[in-house]
């Protein structure tokens, strides 16, 4: 997890595009400037960043289902729950699944687990929009390739 770059996912464990399901893993860094404020002497992974973990997990799934033709932008979070505290060094696993693919939007669900126990879950709505620029698209693809996503196979 590269917190300062908002790159929350370390690797994709499994993808089932037909079923609309993706599992991803990451490790919360042991040190980050974020933990100096959240909180002094009691570092905790902020809940908003767990939402970002879920959004990126489900977001990559939405990208792949759409063959990277457009970009999913997070538009809504419902029923976001943080069931236990998450600490620096924790190894997390997220599972995203598609609930509904509408015209120009997708609704997904995602859960996060630590050692097989649920730590968070939410329903996420993404607005599917064109890439803002070719440069953005290339940078986004580079990010996906770092996660070993089959972008070339799906997008081109």
């Amino acid at each position: 997890m590269r917190l300062e770059y908002f790159q929350m996912i370390d690797r994709i464990i499994e993808v089932d595009l037909e079923a609309g399901r993706l599992r991803a893993a990451c490790t919360v860094p042991k040190e980050s400037t974020i933990f100096e404020g959240h909180f002094p002497s009691y570092p905790l992974m902020p809940g908003v960043l767990l939402i970002e973990c879920m959004a990126q997990t489900a977001g990559w799934l939405v990208c792949m289902r759409g063959r990277f033709a457009a970009m999913p932008f997070l538009a809504g979070v419902k029923e976001g729950k943080f069931r236990t505290l998450v600490f620096p060094g924790d190894r997390l696993e997220f599972e995203g699944s598609v609930v509904h693919e509408g015209s120009g939007y997708t609704v997904a669900e995602c859960t996060g687990q630590r050692d097989g126990k649920k730590v968070c879950d939410a329903q996420l709505t993404f607005r599917i929009m064109p890439y803002p620029s070719p440069q953005f698209r290339e940078a986004f693809f580079t990010w996906g390739e770092r996660l070993e996503l089959p972008i070339k196979e799906l997008a081109r």
Partner: protein
């Protein structure tokens, strides 16, 4: 049996916290009810689920932006209800 308009109005009332009695067949979703695009996504999701269809929002938006259709055609609720009925009928055909 509830009409398509009744179901749509119930969805809008629940999704957007708008009093049900203020939602009329002649109401325009954005101009009269002031539903923004994010709330309309929630409404579209609820309509898609309730009627087992996929509202072609991207196509409608394109038609409006290109000047081929007025927003009234899709966003006045009695017209939206007609569009839903057409989509349901096309699915069953």
């Amino acid at each position: 049996m509830a009409t398509t308009f009744d179901k749509v109005a119930d969805i809008i009332a629940e999704t957007c916290d708008i009093p049900r009695e203020s939602i009329k067949p002649e109401s325009h979703a954005t101009k009269d009810l002031e539903i923004d695009s994010l709330d309309f996504l929630d409404i579209a999701f609820a309509i898609d689920k309730a009627f087992n269809i996929k509202l072609p929002l991207e196509q409608w938006t394109q038609e409006v932006n290109d000047g081929q259709a007025s927003t009234e055609k899709y966003f006045v609720l009695k017209n939206l209800s007609t569009r839903i009925d057409e989509l349901v009928a096309a699915k069953g055909a």
